[in-house]
């Protein structure tokens, strides 16, 4: 099988890691998390744990299949995107919770635009001032909703 796998072991190394992670995740879910987070009922057609546990075990099987027959994947770089995304998520959550929309929304957009390399004042102005103001006017003033 795996006719397209290249001659280089590197091709298969990453998928194998993915497979191992999937197996580990499935095992943790099926053997630790699900039993701890569901109740055993005296009388039930299907125990509440049945479906989540089956899903965990199925993920183990999928992981095994990937380990055994690794197919090369896109091989995208992951360190920068994942740390970047996690950082952005943390900043937006704690920023919005702590400082509120009015302060955080312009700051957040500015941060992202600068990171992406935008330096033109016009577009920076639109993103950091005009759009948050529009959102605020629409939801808070017009609709009377709460923003963070």
């Amino acid at each position: 099988m795996a006719p397209v796998a290249g001659p280089f072991a590197k091709d298969r190394f990453r998928p194998r890691i993915v497979g191992v992670v999937l197996v580990a995740l499935g095992l943790v879910i099926a053997l630790i998390i699900v039993p701890a987070q569901t109740l055993q009922l005296g009388r039930a057609v299907m125990q509440p744990a049945a479906l989540p546990m089956a899903c965990g075990l199925a993920m183990v099987l999928c992981g095994l299949a990937i380990v055994l027959k690794p197919m090369p994947d896109s091989g995208s770089a992951m360190l920068v995107p994942v740390t970047g995304a996690v950082t952005l998520a943390l900043i937006s959550y704690f920023g919005m919770r702590g400082l509120g929309f009015v302060i955080m929304a312009p700051a957040l957009v500015l941060l992202m635009m600068l990171y992406m390399g935008e330096r033109r004042w016009l577009w920076l102005g639109v993103g950091t001032l005009l759009v948050p103001l529009g959102i605020w006017l629409c939801f808070v003033v017009l609709l009377g909703r709460q923003l963070p």
Binding site: L41, P52, C62, A85, M96, E118, R145, P148
Partner: protein
Amino acid sequence: MDAALAGLADAMTLGNLLWVLAGVVLGQFVGAVPGLNAPMAIAIAVPFTYALNPLAAIAFLVGINKGGTVGGAVPAILINTPGSADSAATALDGHPMAVAGQPRKALKLALFSSITGDTFSDIVLITVSTSLAVLALRAGPAEVMALMIFALAIIPGLVGGSMVRGLAAAFLGLLLSTVGLDQASGTPRLTFGMIDLYDGLPLAAVAVGVLAVGEIFRQIFAMRPPPRTAGDDGQAGAIASGAGEADQQLTLREFVALRVTLLRGAVIGTLVGAVPGAGSSAAAFLSYAEAKRRSPTPERFGKGAPEGVAATESANSAVVGSNMIPLLSLGIPGNVTAALILGAFIIHGIQPGPLLFQEQAQLVYALFGAMIMANGMNLVVGLVGLRFWTVVVRAPATLIYPVAFLFCIVGTHVVTNSMLGVAIMLCFGVLGLLMRLFDFSVVPFIIAFFIGPNFELAVIQFLVVSGGDPAFLLGRPVALALLVLSVLALWHFGFRAHPAKKSGDGAD
């Protein structure tokens, strides 16, 4: 007949027309902005309609609902950030079309397909809704369970990439759909003691996170464009701007050539939409699968095949109309949007159900009139809108994605009324990014997540009703056939077609 004419006359007033127009414009707008969506707009709009007369109120809400499905295709096609599971399938071929330089053509195709599907299901609704509703009632736990198994079996093999990874994604989605109070026993599952999770992970937060924010993260952090030269604006979604005007036209001949695909999509959408609880988000994929299976060139699917867009958009829009079938004739809502509209009906003194056509025939026909108007408006507003959105998307990517991200945060906060919802949305954004980086399709994940609760309940109901006796299935031929097809589909995708498909994929 008098009631029908009187009802239609009631509908055709300038006031109603303006309300429908307002609803359609609003619906298309919220559908097109990543992070906002039509159910959200309807939920917020319902209290504002108390002051209106019933017909204007319903016309407005129906307008939002119909506009939302048309609008939903816009971000899916232009920047690959579908706002809901319904339009996730549209992105599969719509976005590649846009990348290949035909964004406006893809949008037009989506719009016309949408209107076609919607009009078809409205005609079915207006003409045979009562008998179709009675037919749909015969779909019991066995049929619903079998339909969902079928959807889960075909979707991982459908969306390209690795079948095994697609399956793994589907199981993860199914797993996460079990968070919350178990519907059968009412006991908490995987909630880690948080009462806010008792109703499960909020659908909107998960969908926006995985489908939109995951892609936004990827665009910001993984697709960071090289330093630009002065003339390049760095368009969002890597849309090539070189294509000539001729390439952007959708000729009548091209559209008519898609008639079979369109009709099939409309029929699938109408049937699935008419069965309450069958999972309307699966309809688009069933239609897509069928179009791909019947195509002489299935390998083009996922790379910008117009049939792919036509199949999904006609099906997911047909669902919108046919969801009204069980809603009007039985008073049973098929999905979240239908439940919201049912609430609005009751508030405005309309009691959907078996007596509706007898007691309030004139109002029902007025509603049908409003729906027809909404379809017309959808077309007009959509044609203007697609020009508008193709201009908007010409703004630099450095503006589009940050702003889209902000809208996702705001939209989620508005829907869930809490920062916890935003936190969940962001976590699923990171998950969506990881899945994209490691070639796990987000589509099987989100579909499994959406139909998970209904699927589990259908299995339990089936076990109770059948008494655990497999022979029960012999009396349910439709369910049996679907189960057999599921096994065949798994075999087909998983073993037979798999190597061939891989080598095809490897060619890019």
